[in-house]
């Protein structure tokens, strides 16, 4: 047994060393750098944002939601819903791996799972409340067909991540997210997203419009629009405590 390991270890080590230079050519960003860049663009350290989400349904009708999202320095996110009337007063909170929704009619919060649909649309709860790809995924650089794009292959580190696997494209010029494909562990394509309309929000540039297509029910798709995003604001830690929901 001992002889066995002593034999395998040098082989795997040398393989690892051999594969290292393939990860990035000199001067090009590494997979980790691009992933960090994605987080920095899409989910800056702290923010106070106003967004709308529109879900386009199978029957051709659509439902729109308006909500505020707040992120703390230690990666906690809280949202408040304003529209439609049926969702008014609902709040969500994520602390670490835990997610809750506060229901105003029950005056109580309940657990949510990150892979469940966000208000019945095609984004999931993790897409909105859990944007920390550096923490949730291991990234590998791949060659994109489009020479203007970087391609990352992301694999989830835990079951709590929003997806099992993501293919993420970033533009080479501004290093802004361009598109993404989201896969199940089985390799089945679940959703695909397009990031568009880069805007400057108080000095922070990011795509203001994301279209999320449902690849399982192809007549369904959802849009997320960033109306406003303020950065580097001081938010009391009290806002990210479960007991504060509904207050």
């Amino acid at each position: 047994m001992k002889r066995h390991t002593s034999c395998v270890l040098p082989v795997s080590l040398s393989l690892a060393i051999l594969s290292l230079p393939l990860a990035a050519s000199p001067g090009e960003p590494t997979a980790e750098e691009l992933l960090r860049r994605y987080d920095q663009v899409m989910s800056p350290k702290t923010f106070d944002a106003l967004m709308t989400m529109t879900a386009h349904r199978q029957d051709g009708s659509e439902r729109s939601y308006k909500f505020r999202a707040l992120k703390s320095e230690d990666d906690k996110i809280r949202t408040w819903f304003f529209e439609p009337a049926a969702a008014k007063g609902q709040e969500m909170l994520r602390v670490g791996d835990n997610m809750w929704v506060y229901m105003p009619n029950l005056k109580r919060a309940m657990r949510l799972a990150s892979r469940e649909s966000f208000q019945g649309g095609d984004f999931n709860n993790g897409d909105v409340l859990r944007v920390n790809y550096v923490a949730d995924y291991t990234a590998k650089r791949e060659t994109a067909e489009d020479p203007k794009l970087w391609l990352l292959d992301l694999t989830a580190k835990s079951k709590e991540a929003a997806y099992d696997r993501i293919k993420l494209w970033l533009s080479k010029d501004k290093q802004q997210p361009a598109k993404a494909e989201y896969y199940a562990a089985s390799g089945k394509l679940l959703r695909s997203a397009v990031f568009e309309d880069v805007k400057n929000f108080h000095g922070h540039e990011r795509p203001s419009h994301i279209t999320m297509r449902n690849e399982l029910a192809t007549k369904r798709w959802s849009e997320m629009t960033m109306l406003d995003m303020k950065l580097d604001i001081a938010i009391p830690a009290q806002r990210f405590v479960l007991d504060d929901l509904g207050r």
Binding site: A86, R111, A113, S117, Q119, G120, G121
Partner: protein, 408 residues
């Protein structure tokens, strides 16, 4: 002439009693087993059908057009109205005994800061048990929805255990309403559905009152399914066009054949097995007849020669042997079928109670058999007997009198 031929045939059958009794017993056993098993299977198939129709589906169902083809049955896009005017249209069809509405939906059930994904079924507590009275058999302890109040819930033990709730405690259902907006309401866990380890379509499953679900899903006066009860389930197909005419083309009417097609499949598979077993039994018995008749022909060669020499026609010789076989087959068959029918009628009256381990309500099986089936198997036995005696009889009829008389 024919009556005397029959008399001779009967006498010939009783000449070698031991051999006749053995042949007769084989036919008797074959027919007895065929009728007995058929009766038992009929009873079991009726019980299976009833347990599904009176326990889950109802005889017919009405959905919004396209519902049966939809990918998920928990879709809230295709709904039927449950207002009094619409239900009255259905009740107005002659022969409809009861009408009930249901909603199938999915949700998260939360308690003790844990949650579980569950399939839920919303039923009208009062009318559901008129359409599907066997539902009550599945409640292993606690109260029914009708006794439990407006936010009562009956949950499977798997679901309750995963949340750590006991009967009498509260939990919350969180789900998306028809528009996709989240909504949540508290439930009172009042009853236990089924028992752990029992086969169930969904392990995490629960029942709530219809009005509760209409509130939660924000679909007042709507449901995903309407089920009806009729007196005789085999008439379901004849109700289909009448119900369709009553509700209009925006809706689709299906029978239990459509929603529980596995019943028909299971019955067809059982019947095929029975037919095979019956065929084997009958074949062995008929081989016995062929053997008996062949022996008879060989033994009675000189007798045949004598008959022929006194002017009995070849056709009559043939008929005589066929008649002998027919009498054996028919007599054995009648008595066998009578014995089988006696078993069927006795247990059909008394009922057979089967209690499987882990099953809440024991199965009551009432065997029945139709006159048509009895006549069919009798015809099969008599016809088969005649057919299997054909070769020995032809042999006998084609003997040459001189040679037959000289045979040892």
């Amino acid at each position: 002439m024919l009556p005397s031929l029959v008399r001779i045939a009967v006498r010939n059958v009783t000449r070698n009693r031991r051999r006749s009794v053995i042949t007769f017993s084989a036919i008797f056993l074959a027919l007895g087993v065929m009728v007995g098993i058929r009766g038992f299977l009929n009873g079991m198939q009726a019980t299976l059908r009833e347990s599904i129709i009176l326990g889950q589906t109802g005889a017919l169902q009405i959905h919004r057009k396209g519902f049966m083809k939809a990918v998920t049955t928990s879709s809230l896009d295709l709904l039927v109205p449950t207002d009094e005017a619409f239900l009255q249209k259905i009740r107005g069809v002659p022969g409809i005994q009861a009408v009930t509405a249901r909603i199938a939906f999915g949700g998260m059930v939360n308690a003790n800061d844990t949650s579980a994904v569950a399939m839920l079924s919303a039923i009208d507590p009062k009318n559901e048990i008129l359409v599907c009275p066997r539902r009550l058999d599945m409640i292993s302890s606690g109260k029914t929805l009708a006794e439990g109040g407006s936010s009562a819930a009956i949950l499977t033990p798997e679901l309750a255990d995963s949340l750590g709730v006991h009967v009498g405690k509260q939990a919350t259902i969180l789900t998306n309403d028809r528009d996709g907006v989240m909504n949540a309401l508290d439930i009172d866990y009042v009853g236990v559905y089924g028992q752990p380890g029992l086969p169930m379509p969904d392990k995490k499953f629960g029942f709530v009152p219809l009005a509760f679900a209409q509130d939660l899903l924000r679909i007042p006066n709507m449901a995903s399914e309407i089920a009806v009860r009729i007196e005789r389930f085999d008439e379901a197909e004849t109700f289909k066009p009448r119900l369709q005419a009553a509700v209009g083309p925006e809706y689709e009417v299906v029978t239990w054949h459509d929603v529980a097609s596995f019943i028909d499949d299971a019955i067809a598979a059982q019947n095929a097995t029975l037919n095979l077993i019956g065929a084997i039994f009958l074949f062995v018995a008929l081989l016995g007849i062929a053997n008996t008749m062949l022996m008879s022909v060989l033994e009675r060669t000189r007798e045949i020669g004598t008959m022929m020499s006194v002017g009995v026609r070849r056709r009559q010789i043939l008929s005589l042997f066929l008649l002998e076989a027919g009498i054996l087959g028919l007599l054995g068959g009648i008595l066998g079928a009578a014995a089988g029918s006696a078993f069927v009628f006795y247990y059909g009256y008394k009922g057979i109670v089967l209690k499987f381990p882990g099953m809440l309500a024991p199965l009551h099986i009432y065997p029945t058999v139709t006159v048509g089936y009895i006549l069919f198997v009798l015809g099969l036995a008599a016809g088969g007997a005649v057919l299997s005696a054909l070769w020995p009889a032809v042999r006998a009829s084609q003997m040459r009198p001189v040679e037959a008389l000289a045979a040892v």
